[in-house]
Subunit: 147 residues, 2 copies
């Protein structure tokens, strides 16, 4: 197993850890996967700087709009830019969310696009963007319209 | 001026170049700003690999749904991960677009989040994601609801 295989497994564990923390609605465990000085941008384009701020903001939303939400990963792709730096795309689905006004947001599809860094202490996300996407069947329809 | 200042100016020129090419509806000039093996993902989550594929796909959409579109940059932020590798966020507005079905899409707001690499030949985007966002006033309202 070469060093990229070891790193890829570590990144897969990092992705699994944010999903597990999300589904436990545990903001501290969620935030622990981000670098202390992470630049995080949520699906609405709202930026948050730093692990502590992620923990605070997620403690609020995991008690409210995402209290009953369940996140699953559809696919993860990793591109190594350096042995200790990788671009990570995570396609996800979510059920059971509510929107910012409290209305049901029953099925979501999206993409986390992040940069992960490896240190002797482990891998973490140093830049992280999240976005909502059309459902896969609608994305296929759009791809046909655009081609 | 230190090396990061020089790199920052080069990245600002790179961003200006994609905007200029877009507004000329010039797919070749647009694609020239991406690394040959770029991983590009559009606002619908549709992935495109490689500069040549970007040129082909953009030649189509710049003749159709974006034929009369005009792109402007609201703000660019750059975070250097290495002297020759940077995370680049570009907040943008667009007027005059049409959606994939050809209906007016009069005012768009969004975020390009990219990874740029510097080589002796210049800077280019090696990973690139684009996303639509709510208008800034709606994003502010959401930020208030979530806090």
């Amino acid at each position: 197993m070469d060093s990229n295989d070891v790193a890829r497994r570590a990144i897969d564990r990092l992705v699994a850890a944010i999903v597990t923390a999300w589904n436990r609605h545990d903001a501290q465990a969620y935030a622990a996967n981000f670098a202390e000085d992470v630049d995080f941008t949520n699906v609405f384009g709202i930026p948050v700087h730093g692990r502590a701020a992620i923990e605070r903001s997620h403690a609020a939303i995991l008690r409210t709009m995402f209290r009953d939400s369940r996140l699953t990963v559809a696919a993860t792709t990793v591109r190594f830019l350096r042995p200790d730096l990788a671009a990570v795309d995570v396609r996800w689905r979510m059920t059971g969310a509510r929107d910012p006004e409290g209305k049901d947001w029953p099925e979501r599809h999206g993409l986390m696009s992040a940069i992960a860094t490896g240190t002797p202490g482990g891998w973490s996300f140093v830049v992280f963007h999240n976005q909502d996407l059309p459902p896969p069947e609608r994305a296929l329809e759009i791809a046909r319209l655009l081609s």
